[in-house]
Symmetry: C2
Subunit: 175 residues, 2 copies
DNA sequence: TCAAAAGTGTTTTCTGTACACCCATGC
DNA sequence: GCATGGGTGTACAGAAAACACTTTTGA
């Protein structure tokens, strides 16, 4: 499923291997029922780095907005966006999709900031680390990341194989 | 949304006021792509009592199966059913949809059996009652139900108004 | 009086949350 | 040496889980 959407994304925006999920199918009831438009909406999670390089050049009219600054949208598009955000907030709590939005190597702080942004809350650093490391899905690398004049941060990568196995066994992640 | 599906249900099966939710939109990729069939699937929760009376007469070819005994289904229908079951199991945990499947007056044991069936587990009687009554969404009636040679059971009804209000405030139910 | 389901509290374990200080680095 | 974000452990409270006996009825 979502094959067409995936191909679209790939051809139009040059993005592959992104998290892509069907959102909802919207039927515009308020228009002429004989000429009814039905939109099967998908949403994707795209790393900002990927987007700004490849996609920005290929799909010239695509743009990037912070949630708080999205302009007025045509038709029911605002509604669709709202649906997507609600879904994302719900989904992020029991499925570790946060990792889709980070580069392959990332620090725990980056991950935390991401979750804080999506959930629109603040999280306790120690508790966050405790919990997320407790899932045993993050592999510490031998590298660190130096960014600014402070202690370098440990880099991790997400263990997709392990995650796939646990998911098959009906494992439950709750952040 | 789901207006058409609701009308269908009402006209074809004579069922109204049932819980109806969009499930997923299935595109049959494996058929000829130019003559592609796209199915927007919905699922509904129907009280067995309603179904066997009204619906059974109107929609003559509709039948009722226990999950374990559903016959082989055509096309991708088995896949659709599996999707619905997964969704139901997930949904039942944070939204009290169990009540949709019971008559207006019901006992706590009935409710518990329902949850056990859907979740495919056993639940502790005392813990279940404690939790479910803790939500303060069940109103005890002055009636009891006698069914068999044992102590009669207290009947309850679900407080839909209160639920609607709590839901608006972003309340979180977790069973 | 027996079988069968209804009903009821307490203890223990686990999970979530709050909270403060040292560390490594660049300037 | 100081500013900045990285990194760590413990104590407390509330939630979840385990657990066994009495009650009411029909036969």
């Amino acid at each position: 499923m979502g094959v067409a959407g995936r191909r679209e994304l790939e051809e139009e925006a040059g993005l592959r291997n992104v998290f892509l999920e069907q959102l909802y199918t919207f039927g515009a009831v308020d228009r002429d029922p004989r000429e009814r438009v039905v939109s099967v909406a998908y949403y994707a999670l795209v790393k900002l780095a990927d987007f700004s390089t490849k996609a920005a050049t290929d799909a010239a009219d695509a743009r990037w907005f912070p949630i708080s600054k999205v302009p007025r949208l045509a038709f029911d598009h605002a509604n669709i966006l709202a649906t997507a955000l609600t879904r994302l907030k719900g989904k992020v709590r029991y499925q570790p999709i946060g990792f889709e939005l980070l580069p392959p190597k990332f620090t725990l702080s980056q991950l935390q900031h991401l979750y804080e942004a999506v959930l629109e809350t603040n999280l306790d650093k120690r508790n966050f680390r405790k919990k997320v490391l407790g899932f045993d899905l993050l592999l510490p690398l031998k590298e660190t990341q130096m960014a600014g004049r402070h202690r370098p941060a440990q880099l991790f990568r997400f263990d997709t194989d392990k995650y796939a196995k646990l998911k098959k066994r009906g494992f439950n992640f709750e952040l």
